[in-house]
């Protein structure tokens, strides 16, 4: 069992991180903790993708030697080379995750300006109270 886990430890870390992230997003009541959970969740996926590109046994970066036409077509042993594509995909995914974090943080600032708290329960209580008095307010970011 231990060997089974150790042999593919990076995938196990991915699963554990993902579950931590999911738990934080759903279980935590503080909005910043939810956001951190979201980041952990996204990072775990990056780890999965990066893991898939790795090959054991002396595989190297895929720079094709003698790839010119004068040597004729050469067969490429796929197992000799690391796969760079997942890493490249993850560069894009990292950008996406940073953008999402940025937008989420900006939204948190809006929420904090409005309610002066980031605890979900307190915000819900404030909203319930204001709904009882029927005082709809138009969003004004300057207040």
């Amino acid at each position: 069992m231990t060997e089974y886990i150790l042999a593919k430890y990076n995938y196990w870390i991915y699963v554990v991180l993902m579950m931590i992230g999911l738990y934080a997003m759903m279980g935590k009541r503080n909005l910043v903790k939810k956001l951190i959970g979201m980041n952990i969740f996204q990072t775990s996926i990056i780890l999965l993708f990066v893991s898939t590109g790795v090959k054991k046994g002396g595989a190297t970066v895929p720079i094709l030697m003698h790839a010119g036409h004068e040597h004729g077509a050469q067969l490429i042993q796929v197992s000799d080379y690391l796969n760079p594509l997942p890493h490249v995909l993850m560069l894009t995914a990292i950008v996406v995750s940073i953008a999402t974090t940025g937008v989420a943080l900006a939204t948190l600032i809006l929420i904090y300006k409005r309610y002066h708290t980031l605890e979900e329960d307190e915000i819900l209580a404030i909203r319930r109270e204001s709904r009882a008095y029927k005082t709809p307010r138009i969003l004004n970011p300057t207040d």
């Binding site: 999965l48 953008a99 939204t107």
Partner: protein, 499 residues
């Protein structure tokens, strides 16, 4: 030039979005004409692509000249060409409407608003046009991120709704990304057409099955399929009217398109028929969505929130059409994507106009509204008739095909749900129409003497609002009689030949 049309569909709004802040900074009154000008390019390109597809069949476009499966391929077939036309048309009408609605809701921030607006449309178009799984993820996030930014500017409660949307939407997008990862691990390819040929040998591989599960869950979150719809009512109710006009009709439809792509193009239809019981699961989720959406809509007094719950039910319609797995059902689902997008556009435009004139969105605010806003309310009646499925309007025809599909599949519960849902829609809309048209005039209700009757003044809705409303109402009426033609020229080719 005409060979480059597929690239222009994406490049024009994307570059336009980057230039919008500069133009808005120079003169903020120019940003609206500029956006309209930019949007005519994809509008023209989408229509000419559709005619090209009808004439010559599906075609591909290799971005940067790199051949698939290595390069990113833009694939335009019947379904995606139809979606491109739908998105550009609705985007254009929403952009016209944004002049008065958006300029008041985003006062002083018009340039930023229009930038996000263009990016949002770019995202939708990209999801539809691309033939590359990872590229779909990128465009999905472009559309989601600009959507978050736009929705957060709404009324009371919008930031909180946006934050929930960000969390749930990110889970959806991440699940989609995981699906891409698992399929890539199994096959080493990202091109949809290439994967479609590689996958059948691996249909029973656990990796592919897990990937499929992540795909459908991720897309269902983006689509707002019950029980993953919880973010949708809050986000679309609190969003600014100019924003919900654009996002609400299109986001769910684009995700439904993605579901059809995954079920019938990426995986062959026999995968869903014989390998996984996805059709049964989706079918019963659709039943739950229609019932819950309808009942929750009945409980609402705020009309905008009511419409968002109707959206939950409408997503159920589309998924039900997909889940019955026959030609009539899928035809109905694809037709309903078009019809529902037009109906929701018209509904949100009407709500926008009513809010713009300072009327409330509660049902009792609709009292005698037909005297104040006759044209707007006329459009509202047309949508209401279409939603209930009354023949000249387009809603009848897609519902007809959906019901035919459930009858062919012998799913009698589904048939009953669809029929019951039409009744619920009738109740939903006729209670508003009754208030607007048949309620006694305000003076009688207030017990005033008729000699000093209150003179009801007509609200002048700005031209940029009333024109999109009338166009979309006309589209609803025209699409109905045209639906036979649409099915014959486009949709019947989009349905997989196996059915």
């Amino acid at each position: 030039m005409s060979d480059q049309l597929p690239a222009l569909i994406i490049v024009a709004p994307l570059l336009g979005a980057f230039l919008t802040p500069i133009i808005g900074w120079w003169n903020r009154h120019l940003s609206h004409p500029w956006v309209l000008m930019v949007l005519t390019i994809p509008l023209y390109a989408a229509y000419s692509s559709l005619f090209k597809v009808i004439k010559n069949g599906p075609f591909g476009y290799n971005l940067g000249g790199w051949a698939p499966p290595w390069g990113i391929e833009y694939r335009i077939d019947y379904l995606s060409a139809m979606m491109l036309v739908l998105i550009t048309t609705i985007g254009f009408l929403a952009a016209i409407n944004a002049k008065s609605a958006g300029n008041t809701e985003f006062k002083g921030k018009e340039a930023q608003f229009y930038t996000l607006f263009l990016l949002q449309i770019t995202g939708f178009l990209g999801i539809v046009i691309t033939g590359d799984l990872f590229n779909v993820f990128v465009f999905l996030e472009i559309s989601s991120l600009s959507g978050y930014g736009l929705i957060a500017h709404g009324e009371e409660g919008a930031p909180m709704a946006t934050f929930n949307y960000i969390i749930i939407g990110t889970i959806g997008a991440s699940f989609y990304l995981l699906g891409v990862g698992y399929l890539y691990m199994a096959t080493g390819s990202l091109n949809i057409a290439d994967l479609a040929t590689l996958l059948p040998a691996l249909y029973h591989s656990k990796m592919v099955l897990v990937g499929f599960a992540f795909f459908t869950t991720g897309v269902a979150i983006k689509m707002g399929l019950f029980p993953l719809h919880i973010w949708m009512p809050d986000a679309y109710t609190t969003a600014p009217n100019s924003v919900s006009t654009l996002i609400a009709p299109l986001m769910t439809k684009v995700a439904a398109y993605l579901l059809i792509r995954i079920l019938f193009t990426l995986f062959k239809p026999d995968f869903a028929l014989s390998v996984v019981p996805i059709a049964t699961i989706l079918g019963w989720l659709a039943v739950a969505a229609i019932v819950v959406g309808g009942v929750k809509a009945l409980a609402q007094t705020d009309i905008k929130r009511m419409v968002t719950y109707i959206m939950v039910a409408e997503v159920g319609y589309i998924v039900m059409g997909i889940s019955v797995m026959n030609r009539a059902g899928l035809t109905g689902a694809i037709l309903h994507i078009i019809n529902d997008a037009c109906m929701l556009l018209c509904l949100f435009l009407v709500i926008g106009a009513i809010s713009f004139k300072g009327h409330g969105r509660e049902i009792y605010h609709f009292q005698n509204l037909n005297k104040k806003m006759p044209l707007t309310m006329a459009a509202f009646v047309i949508v209401a008739l279409s939603m209930c499925g009354i023949p000249p309007a387009c809603g009848f025809f897609s519902k007809w095909y959906l019901i035919m599909g459930t009858i062919v599949a012998k799913q009698w519960v589904f048939t009953a749900t669809l029929l019951a849902s039409s009744l619920i829609n009738a109740v939903l809309f006729f209670r508003i129409i009754e208030k607007a048209y048949l309620a006694p005039p305000e003076d009688v209700a207030a017990g005033l003497d008729h000699t000093e009757a209150v003179i009801i003044t007509r609200d002048k809705v700005p031209l940029t609002m009333i024109v999109p409303i009338l166009i979309s109402a006309a589209i609803i009426l025209i699409l109905g009689p045209l639906s036979g033609k649409i099915i014959e020229t486009v949709i019947q080719h989009a349905v997989p030949a196996i059915f």
